[in-house]
């Protein structure tokens, strides 16, 4: 291209840009006085603000053995070339960046808007004159932060979800609550802040788990209005939520809101076990909350620990949490409403569920309007519960349509509010277990077991804050001392199960029970040194005969390293019962038959009874008995933290 033509094009292009800009905005650029800027930078350096804890937190610096580095990997987060590893240079470059010319086409791209928390904090510390930096209208931030009307912050907990490994432990997020006295302020429309891995669509579960464990994903804070989470957790994933409203000063709320804005979209490495949602959300709160929410130097972060901690932390001389509110899922609402129906109305309800022509029955027509409204309200929850499992079911969709039409015949009224709520997660047993046991096995051999399990709970644990009748154990290690020898008896990498029990007698409630584990275990109870590595997976069914009495049966498949007469492949039948005598006393009794299919076709049957006594957050006592060709008894004290 000839030089003069290129030049002409360039001129036209630049002129066009100028005219475009003038179509929309006209801002006189207030250029800063460079001597004022130099004075401000000098003061910041003299005050050693680059060493200040707040600066280090705002930039997410983490100290290593001999160095310091920010967790944030996005280059756009830093103003200095070496800003990720040099807090001082980053501070100087940030202050210089605040003096950059304004791009009038996009004022929000100015560093004063992008790093708005840094700007306000530095301004407070350095106390510079108003006119040191150009005035910028951060329109998008103003809109996002409801023009300074965010008055409080809530920490939301979505209970665990066994449909996705990343959700097993539950999930925390933040909600920014606007001033309720202002028109249009509504909790459902509040902004919420979420932290999570940025994963490609269609990632398979194995890749997802491995990359999540070993830092193969980046993660970022993102935002959505709360109604999205509310709908998705409640209706699609059937997860209860809890809202912990935090008792923060306005200046603290403003600081978290500003920092959240500058963190949006900034990428960090994601690890399931530590640098996860629980860790990043607690880190955000620790910008203003002095006491650490998650303990330092612990190699894992669990949402439960965040809620356990915030509910007990004092801040500004008062409890950090001012209120806790339960947000039930569709399933929880359905169960509660159905159970509250009179017995004869339950029959009417079940008849309608079976055939909506029963809306024309004498039994339904004889109900009062209030009874009909209660029944239809329950039917709305029931149909949504069913559609959450099979969203295309034409039968359920037709039932729902009929229910909606019936409801239109009745007077308007608000849906009945749920009365009461289960105990919140922070009242549940803490997740990290250390246990010591004294036992005896055949031939009067006494042993002592030492057990640790970083997370989370088992079938005997109290249900508070957990999915009832399920287990989730990760990283369990059991060391046995016997005859002056220490042996690693069991090493459970991963052990998850759910009985998936129906809580009502309605069709579609409940499902197949399932289990999966992977790790090292001992082949038999009477051998001292017979560890095998393997996996066990099973499908089954569990039924609640009474709220305190559950029976279950499983068919399991086992693949393991062969040991002695036992081959590497086996099938197992397992049946048992769980009896909850009281909150503080639960018992599991089960019998299993295992058939090995290679190396001699060995056969093994096992009978086991385990009991938990106590339902405290921090301890329980357990007593167990096992028979497998010989006897084993064990008494344990468990401490949870």
């Amino acid at each position: 291209m000839p030089l003069n033509l290129r030049f002409t094009k360039n001129i036209i292009f630049k002129s066009s840009l100028l005219i475009i800009a003038s179509c929309f905005f006209f801002f006189p650029h207030a250029s800063a006085d460079s001597s004022n800027l130099k004075r401000a930078i000098k003061k910041a350096i003299d005050l050693e603000l680059y060493k200040d804890e707040r600066w280090l937190k705002l930039l997410r610096y983490r100290s290593g053995f001999l160095s310091i580095e920010s967790d944030v990997k996005s280059k756009a987060f830093f103003n200095a070339k070496d800003g990720r590893t040099n807090p001082k240079n980053e501070l100087i470059a940030t202050m210089k960046a605040f003096n950059e010319a304004i791009n009038h086409d996009d004022t929000d791209s100015h560093p004063k808007c992008r790093f708005i928390a840094r700007y306000h904090w530095l301004k407070e510390k350095v106390e510079w004159e108003e006119d040191v930096f150009p005035k910028v209208n951060c329109q998008r931030f103003q809109k996002w932060s409801k023009k300074g009307q965010i008055r409080s912050i809530s920490l939301i907990f979505a209970t665990g979800y066994l449909g996705n490994p990343a959700s097993f432990f539950g999930h925390p997020l933040l909600k920014f609550n606007a001033d309720k006295s202002k028109a249009g302020s509504n909790d459902l429309l509040a902004n919420s802040l979420n932290y999570g891995a940025l994963t490609p669509n269609g990632e398979d579960p194995l890749t997802y788990s491995l990359k999540g464990l070993f830092g193969g994903y980046n993660a970022a804070f993102t935002h959505l209005q709360f109604y999205y989470h509310n709908h998705n957790y409640s209706n699609n994933e059937l997860r209860d939520m809890w809202e912990y409203r935090l008792n923060l000063k306005q200046v603290e709320v403003d600081h978290i809101v500003r920092h959240s804005w500058e963190m949006l979209g900034q990428e960090m490495t994601y690890f399931f076990t530590h640098d996860n949602c629980a860790y990043r959300i607690s880190e955000l709160l620790n910008l203003v909350v002095e006491k650490r929410i998650l303990p330092a130097n612990v190699p894992y972060a669990i949402p439960h620990s965040v809620f356990d901690s915030v509910s007990r932390v004092e801040h500004n001389g008062a409890p950090l949490v001012s209120s806790v509110t339960y947000i039930p899922s569709r399933q929880s609402r359905m169960t509660k409403k159905y159970r509250s129906l009179a017995e004869e109305n339950k029959i009417v309800f079940k008849n309608i569920v079976a055939d909506t022509d029963h809306f024309d029955s004498k039994e339904y027509k004889s109900l009062t309007d209030t009874q009909k409204i209660l029944l239809l309200d329950t039917l709305f929850d029931y149909t949504m519960f069913r559609l959450s499992k099979d969203e295309e079911s034409p039968i359920i969709k037709a039932k729902r349509k009929r229910a909606l039409k019936e409801r239109l015949r009745l007077p308007t009224s608000r849906a009945r509010e749920d009365q009461g709520s289960p105990a919140p997660i922070h009242d549940g047993q803490r997740p990290v277990l250390t246990r010591i046991s004294q036992g005896e096995r055949s031939q009067e051999r006494i042993f002592t077991d030492f057990e640790i399990r970083p997370a989370y709970y088992d079938l005997l644990s109290p249900d508070t804050g957990r999915l009832p009748y399920s287990s989730l154990a990760i990283g369990r290690v059991l060391i046995r001392k016997e005859d002056e020898r220490f042996i690693i008896r069991e090493l459970g990498f991963f052990d998850v199960s759910t009985l998936n029990i129906a809580e009502t007698d309605l069709p579609g409630d409940g499902g197949l029970a399932w289990k999966f584990n992977l790790g090292i275990t001992s082949q038999e109870i009477q051998c001292a040194d017979c560890q095998v590595f393997g996996t066990r997976a099973g499908l089954g069914k569990a039924v609640m005969l009474d709220p305190r009495f559950v029976v279950f049966a499983f068919g399991n498949g086992i693949a393991q390293t062969a040991k002695r007469d036992f081959g590497s492949l086996a099938t197992q039948l397992e049946a048992g019962t769980i009896i909850t005598f009281s909150e503080a006393w639960r018992m599991i009794m089960k019998q299993s038959f295992t058939q090995y299919h290679n190396q001699g076709s060995a056969y093994l049957d096992t009978f086991e009874v385990s009991q938990r006594f106590g339902a405290a957050r921090t301890w329980d006592i357990r007593l167990s008995y096992k028979y497998q060709k010989s006897n084993l008894m064990k008494l344990s004290y468990s401490y949870y933290w």
């Binding site: 179509c23 249009g184 959505l224 909606l404």
Partner: protein, 162 residues
């Protein structure tokens, strides 16, 4: 010629914001493309990822003028919570209806009348054969159209963002 072309380009950009409203927000703003359905294994996203563009739209801070504003926000809200909106409309009350009308800047004192008015037309929608089999986006579109017709027809003085 090039200068004329350049000026035309400038003019086109200048008037973009005024023609934007005439474009199809349903097709162009991604309403319905958002992840509001139960996605099975992909529900992984519920916990951990959101496309930042989607987030921006749903949080009402999209930079494209077409997809901004209360009408689009209300459409996103209805689509994202349709099952609850549907239930609360037949009940005649509920927190989601309040939020929906808050988005449109409707005075709280006018909510009952607006809902009653929408409920009447909604009953006709539900009564139509095949209502239950409509795609979620179609249901949203019908509901939103009904709502906006009511508001723009009878409640403009009570709904200040329209």
């Amino acid at each position: 010629m090039r200068k004329v072309y350049g000026m035309f380009l400038v003019f086109a950009v200048c008037i973009f914001s005024t023609t934007a409203q005439a474009r199809n927000v349903w097709r162009e703003c991604g309403i319905g493309g958002m992840l509001f359905t139960n996605t099975g294994w992909a529900a992984i996203t519920s916990n951990i990822i959101w496309d930042l563009g989607t987030s921006a739209t749903s949080s009402d801070i999209s930079s494209d003028g077409l997809c901004e504003g209360p009408k689009v926000s209300a459409a996103n809200f209805v689509h994202g919570t349709y099952a609850t909106i549907e239930e609360q409309t037949v009940m005649g009350q509920g927190d989601h209806l309040v939020a929906m009308l808050d988005i449109l800047g409707c005075e709280r004192s006018a909510h009952d009348k607006i809902i009653q008015s929408v409920r009447t037309d909604f009953s006709k929608d539900i009564a139509r054969p095949g209502y239950e089999s409509l795609e979620a986006i179609e249901k949203t579109k019908n509901y939103h159209t009904n709502l906006m017709n009511k508001i723009e027809g009878n409640f403009t003085s009570q709904c200040h963002l329209i």
